[in-house]
Each structure stands twice: as structure tokens, then as C-alpha cells.
């Protein structure tokens, strides 16, 4: 049946496009001349460094941002963030981390007391965790966006389901523009899932009132690792 439908749809497309040919020439000359003459180039950020631009845009979209220079800096940032969360209703006692080895290593450098730590729990377990910690594969300065590639790290659920997401971004992996980040994820063999994350989950579906934290994380912390 599907094959029959496929043939029917494709031949409908072809015959209707053929009907249109006499009208098209006149129409296309009326409209846009040459798209090449209209390159959609953004004005370049002149002064601010990529890290500073990235940080400013993260804050604009409602994320928190810390810049760290050493592993010890990152560990102490993690300690500060998580111990502060432990005093809130979020509790931050059950922590899920991605399988990036760096994360587990960093957590061992903290003196946090937690009830449970799990590496990349699966869909049936992840829903009970309070905090998810991941690395990222790239970032976009102009929008404050994290780039998560699911073939490189097991962070699809850890970055999504817990109410808090803490992401570690290497400063050397920050691209300036969306276009550059798209070129980075565009490969001969595409990853089955790449996610761009810009700020915490949000909705305005009731009276257009902005509410943070609907289905995804309500808090997003980004630690920029400046040592790389």
C-alpha cells in the first residue's frame, strides 16, 4: 500500500509541477533575483571574546554561568552549585552523570555528600534523579547554546529529565555562530541525535506568562572550562 501511495504522491507532484511550468517563468523573474546577492551575514562581534559573548547570552536566556580555569576550579564550582541546591526543595541528593570520564573524575574531587550517584541511567530509572551533569561537544556564542551529540556522550536523558542540568563547556569548543555549529554537526555519517540547548525549559502557554521549567530542566548551570 505504501509503495502505491509513494508512486501516487510522486506522480501527483510531477504532474502538478508540469502544469505550473508556463506560469513559473514569469513569476520567478518577478520575485527574488539571485539569492547569492543577499548573503545573510550577521555583523561580526568585534570586541568581546567568544567566552564573554557566550556567557552574556547564557545569562540572557536564563542560565547560570561560571568560568573556571583548572579542574580544581570546576570541582569547587560543582560543590558550590550542588550544596546550595541541597538546601532547596530540589534536594540534589540523587545525581545522574553522563558517561564522559571527566565528569566522574571531577565529582571525586569534590567533598559533596550525596545519596546516590549513577552513570547514564536508562529511561526507566532516570525519572527519580535531581541533578544531571554532562559535558558538551560544542557551544554557540551568539545565542548561548549548548551542542550535545549523542554519539559522543551518553547524555540524552541526563541533560533532559532531572530538574537541574549542569553542563561543562570547553572554551576551545565555542563557535561564534549558529552556521559554524551546524557545519560542525554536519558529517558524512550524521549522529542519530544532536540537540541544541539554549537556556532552561520554558513555556508561556498560560496567559503568555513566561514560566521556567516545564518539561525539561528548570535550572541550567554552565561551567566554562577556560583551561583548554
Amino acid at each position: 500500500m505504501t509503495n502505491e501511495a509513494r508512486q501516487a504522491i510522486l506522480s501527483s507532484i510531477r504532474s502538478h509541477l508540469a502544469t505550473s511550468v508556463p506560469y513559473d517563468k514569469r513569476e520567478l523573474s518577478l520575485h527574488h533575483a539571485n539569492p547569492e546577492n543577499n548573503p545573510a551575514i550577521l555583523s561580526k562581534q568585534a570586541s568581546a571574546s567568544l567566552v564573554e559573548t557566550f556567557k552574556a547570552n547564557l545569562i540572557t536566556v536564563g542560565a547560570h554561568c561560571v568560568i573556571a580555569q583548572t579542574d580544581a576550579d570546576i570541582a569547587s564550582a560543582l560543590t558550590r552549585i550542588i550544596s546550595a541546591l541541597q538546601k532547596t526543595p530540589i534536594r540534589a541528593q540523587r545525581i545522574a552523570i553522563s558517561d564522559a570520564p571527566q565528569i566522574e573524575h571531577l565529582l571525586h574531587q569534590t567533598d559533596l555528600e550525596i545519596e546516590e550517584l549513577a552513570i547514564a541511567p536508562n529511561a526507566s530509572d532516570i525519572f527519580s534523579f535531581d541533578v544531571g551533569i554532562t559535558s558538551t561537544q560544542a557551544a554557540i556564542a551568539e545565542t548561548g547554546t549548548l551542542v550535545l551529540d549523542s554519539t559522543r556522550e551518553r547524555h540524552r536523558l541526563v541533560s533532559l529529565v532531572p530538574p537541574v542540568h549542569i553542563a561543562i563547556v570547553d572554551a576551545s569548543k565555542i563557535y561564534e555562530t549558529l552556521g559554524e555549529a551546524l557545519a560542525f554537526i554536519h558529517k558524512t555519517e550524521m549522529s542519530p541525535a544532536v540537540t541544541f540547548v539554549t537556556g532552561p525549559s520554558r513555556t508561556a502557554d498560560i496567559e503568555l506568562t513566561l514560566t521556567i521549567g516545564v518539561h525539561g530542566p528548570q535550572e541550567l548551570y554552565v561551567i566554562i572550562n577556560g583551561s583548554t
Partner: protein, 453 residues
Amino acid sequence: MNPLSSETFGENAKAALADVQLRGALKYATSLFGERRKEAAEGLSNWEGLRTQARAIKDEALLHLDRYLEEFVSNAEACGAQVHWARDAAEANSIICRLSKDARTIVKSKSMTTEETHLNHALEAAGVQVVETDLGEYIIQLAEETPSHIIAPAIHKTRRQVADLFTAELGTPATDDIAQLTRIARTTLRDRFAAADVGISGVNFGVAETGTIVIVENEGNIRLTTSVPKMHIAVMGIEKVVPRFADLDVFLKLLPRSATGQRSSTYQSFITGVKRQPTAEGPEELHIVLLDNGRSRLLAHPVTRQSLACLRCGACLNACPVYQQIGGHAYGSVYPGPIGAVITPQLMGIEKTAQLPYASSLCGACREVCPVKIDIPRLLLHLRSEIAPRKGSTTERLAFKMWGRVMTSPMLYKLSSIAGRIVQRVIPISKAWTKGRDLRPIESKSFHELWND
């Protein structure tokens, strides 16, 4: 609540105009969306260039739609996706019902395409539970209503109404705190996500070059729908194909800015087939249902074809002086506002929707804000020209024909103004014509005569 019909557009609009609460909500929403869009567009140095480029890409994709669709399908299949072709809504629904017949819980994210096919009715008729997970869609599903705006489906509801609805349907404590209401929805829907075995989503863009589907959102329910269940079914109109991966740069700049005034949507998911290792995260099966449902017919003329360039951003709704007053439900169609007034008659046929192309003053605001430069006023006129020979009154047609003759002949024109001056004193001007518009009396001297004096 029964959805309204396009056939009674006039009455629907009157009822909407009498609804003070609705008009307050609409005024607030459309002006807020409008201001944010404007600000976001001005934040880019080359908004006009982007629009031109986006339209050129869409035109290219549509002019070679057969080729790009086949390229998209073969690349998606090479990465493990299963593609299904559906000629119409019934075929799409039956494919989806068959795929999900053993599902216990289906979670669904917002998709205007599945609104168009009335998928939820079909699933419920097949005995499968389906839960809308976008907050606005969830609210209207509980209320058994239909979306009134493409981007904010529950734009017509107050927090009080949402609170009462939640109390009645979910038994949750009464509150009209919006953050609290959002938390209630989050908690309730978490259990459904955790239990879901099928997730159904729409598609914003399908990339021919890579077989990737791209879905944008703010809430995170699409990520959950496409990550947690074992099976993901993506429903995609055939017009959603773009040729190259790099084309996304243009569209991912235009869409969030036009829809909500954001520089980027919170989440953009790029999904290419299924996981390659069985132990990896994500669904085991990805089914892409390609829907025609009248779309291929619109390729037959450049004026109608441009309706297929629509990104479903909703900017034309917010800019439209008619939508601003009456909201989405009065149109009685799945797609409301200016774009709905052109898409609905073309997809569903003009018999039952003939009033919609007249639901516009042709002011052109929709064309000004459209991120892909769809000439909606021209489309409206095109549709009116198809409807008029069937629906217009004989007297009106005769009158305009005579008016045309008079206006193209200097002699007849001169005579008519003299005759008009005399006639207007003795015969009152047609009531039907002046009910909705002013008619200025003819001056005692014409411009020509004044000039000669």
C-alpha cells in the same frame, strides 16, 4: 465542545466579538508577540536578506519536490528510519494506528499536521490512549477544545479557567498561580512520559541531503517524546523538505524570531535515523509518515505553491487585524488567521470554506511579517476569484461589470457623474452596500470641472 465550522464564519466572528474576555486576551497576546517579533527582527542586520534567501530555498525545494523528497527518504532510510507515504489524512491515521496498536501509552508533542488529520480521534477510536504533552495542547485536550493559535494553542484561556479545568479533571488543589499550574502539568505528565511506549511528533524541517528531521520547541516535551519511548513516529507534510543541511542556518534564525521573538528556541533536535548500537540511548524505531493530503495539488501554480513555503510560525496571525479581534476558533478551521484562510480552502476544498478568503481587509500586514514572504493578499484574491463566479450575487457581478465599462470610457464617466448627482437626490443608495462601509456623496463639481474653472 464542538469545534465551530468555517461555513458559519460570520456568526462565529460576531460571537467572538461579543466575548470581552477573549478580546482582552487576544489584544494582549497578539501585540506582545508582534512587538517581540519586531524587536528580534531588528536585532539582525540583514532580516530582509534572510527572508529573501529563505523564500528562494523554499521555492527551489518546491520546484524540485519529487527529487528532494526521494533524496530525503533514501538518506533517512539508510540511517535506519522507516518511511511511510500517506496520500490523505485517513491513510496517515491508519498507518499510525497500525504502528501503535500495541501501545499502552502514547505521548504526543504539538503538531499542526496531526491536528489537520484529526489523529487523536482516530487513535481514540482505535482504542489507544494518547496524551498531548505541550502545556497548551494538554490544556485544550483536557477541555476537549481545539487550538486557537498555532504557537500558543490555549491563548484564549485564563489562568482561572485552567485552574478550574485542572481541579475538575486532575483533582488537584485550586490555585491560580501560573507557576503552580505549570508544575501540576509537569508532575502529571512525567508519569505518562515514563510509561510511554510510543512518542508522536511533528517535523519542522526534513533535510534532503542527510535524511535528518529537525524539531524546535521550548518546553522539552518534544525531546522527551522523541527520546524516552521505544518508538518515535514523526508526521511530516511533504512540503517540509529543505535541500541542504546548511539551509537550516537561515530557517533556524527566522523561525524562532518570527514565532516568539526568541533568538533561538530552547531546544532544537536534529534526528537522523535511529541509534546504531542497541545499547545506546533513544528509540529503537523511527517511523516518518509523509503526508500529502492535498499539498501536491498546490504545486500547479506559482501563486498557490507559495502556501507550501509556510513555516507555521504564526506571525501573520498576530499581525492580522481580523485575527486580533476574533481569534482562531471563529475561522472554524485547523489553521486559523491569514495563512489558515488561504491554506484551508486549498487543502479542504472551497465548498465549505468559501467565507475564509473574505476574512481579511487585504491590508497586507501578514505579507510584511511573513519570514518566507508569502504574498497572502494575492493568494486571498486568487481564491476569491475562484469563489466569486460560484457564490457572488448576480446583481453585484452585473453592477461591477457596468462599473468597469463606465470607468474605462471618458464619455460614459462624465455622463455618469452628472447622472449620479441627480440620482443621489431622488433614490437612496443601496442599503446592503452601505451597511458595512461609508459612501461619500458625489460632489457638485468634478475635479475636471474645477480644473477647467
